[in-house]
Amino acid sequence: MDKENRHHLWLTVPALLSIGLLFSAYGLFGWTSFYRATPGGLGVGGDFTFDNYLRIFGSWRELAVIGETLWISFALTMISLVIAVPMALVIARSPSRLVRSILLFTLAVTFLSGGVTRAYAWMVLLGNKGLINLALVHLGVIERPIRLVFNWLGVSISLVHFLLPFTVFTLVGAVKNLPLSVEEAARNLGATRMTTFFRVTLPLLSSGLVVAASLTYSLALSSFLFPLLLGGGRVRMVANHIYERLFVAYDIPFAAATSAVFLVLSFVVILGFAGLERLVRKVVVR
């Protein structure tokens, strides 16, 4: 049996070729970050240099784009979590099959209907003469249309819409695994619903929350399409910055260096989340 299991290695050969291709692409791309762009076209040449990295770490503008991306992604992750927890609770616990189905179908259809579709819909909805502004003026909330698009507000609204299904889907499993009896015991001992939620449910859920946060955060970090369409060039995240370096400035080495710095930062953040998850599990579960 063990001998046969060793033959399993051969089964992975096609996948290994695919991984090999991808990593040679990453490797080559990373390697170009140590050279210079040749004028005209997407060429690379010159001597080995750390110039591109020095340019990033020496410029506040470059660092600001990275910092802003890290910060806004964090804020969006927190917002998504706050909305996702009640949704996951209903999906996992609602006694009505109809209610559960409505939520699941809403999430699935939103999730599957695609990025371009949703980014476009938000562009029209949030425009100066869009439905949202019209409704707000009509209801008397505001006097004249406010700017909801081509700024961080529009990008954030559309990104939460994009991230939410992912967050909920990762949380549902964790909520399903919660032992209901512990919460019932807390209630029986006289704890209010609020106290039970914050002192029993949330701590038990913390490991699942960290996993969901980590996925949501890495998705938020890599957002590209939503800031591109709803940011209208005024709001940029790192992915948009890399794209511009490439297709506006034709500077592959600089785009590569920015990608490398960004990738290292994302890995650090994700490793941080993994560490946090282990820590939380140790503290809560004991």
């Binding site: 089964l11 990593f23 599957l112 819909a121 399409l225 592959i252």
Partner: protein, 271 residues
């Protein structure tokens, strides 16, 4: 505590937030469908009455039609390819005992956390370096490499959760390993294979961040053409395209519900 509150699993705030969140999620989807039938290039209130103008526009546009053909081609080639390559890989990762198994698993799943733009530019750099002018082939390779980890991950999670006694029973009753795999193991993987396929299919049709780097004028796909259209024109033709995609995703959701049930698929996705 009385009986009634035991039956209610949460307070009022939870269903209220969930309802608002559902409305928030559905708003753009419902809006874009309604907008696609609006007889006017801009949004206005009250809406002007139903027209199929933008659908005609979409189907008569050569750019959109070529892009649709390309997108479908990529999705229909990449999805089965990811499943066929992903299945044996998932079996090896879940069941195999060989040196470097964990390393392979880690390497295989790591692209999931690399931003799509980075993967896109890196592949573009590679294709440029080897002068690989493959037309649509660039995107086919790119989407395959990108989609494979999704397929493998869902199937590995499913394989690890299977009851080994079923396979042992089949083996004890004299079935060969191959027969056991096809008659006992494979049928149990139905839901994760479907989940993986849906994921890869949707990603192949909808992915923007990789497609934008790996396609050019001749190999343009739907999301890229739609983006260019939004940038250059101002009319609801993209809303018509969006409505067609939403209809497709509704059809997918209903097919999943009929085939295995959504809640079951969610249960599988727990890992």
């Amino acid at each position: 505590m009385n009986r009634r509150s035991l039956e209610r699993p949460y307070g009022r705030l939870v269903p209220l937030t969930a309802t608002l969140a559902c409305l928030f999620l559905l708003l753009p989807v419902v809006f874009v469908v309604a907008f696609s039938f609006n007889d006017g290039a801009y949004f206005q209130w009250p809406p002007r009455g139903p027209t199929l103008r933008w659908y005609v526009n979409f189907f008569e546009s050569e750019r959109f039609m070529t892009a649709t053909e390309h997108s479908l081609k990529v999705a229909l080639i990449v999805t089965p390819a990811c499943l066929v390559v992903g299945l044996p890989t998932a079996v090896a990762i879940a069941r195999g005992r060989f040196a470097g198994r964990d390393l392979i698993a880690t390497l295989l799943l790591s692209p999931l956390i690399v931003p799509g733009v980075v993967t896109g530019v890196a592949l573009l750099a590679l294709f440029t370096a080897v002068h690989g002018d493959l037309g649509l082939g660039r995107l086919l390779i790119g989407m395959f490499v990108f989609g494979l980890p999704f397929a493998v991950r869902t199937m590995v999670a499913d394989l690890l959760g299977l009851d080994p006694r079923l396979e042992e029973a089949a083996r004890n009753l004299g079935a060969t390993r191959l027969r056991t795999f096809f008659l006992v193991t494979l049928p149990q993987l139905k839901s994760s294979m479907l989940a993986g396929a849906v994921f890869v299919f949707v990603e192949a049709i909808d992915n923007f961040s990789i497609s934008v780097f790996l396609t050019d004028e001749r190999s343009a796909v739907l999301p890229v053409v739609a983006y260019q259209y939004i940038r250059d024109f101002d009319d609801p033709t993209v809303a018509a395209m969006a409505t067609l995609l939403i209809a497709l995703s509704c059809a997918l959701v209903f097919a999943i519900e009929r085939l295995i049930g959504f809640e079951r698929m969610m249960h599988i996705n727990r890992k």
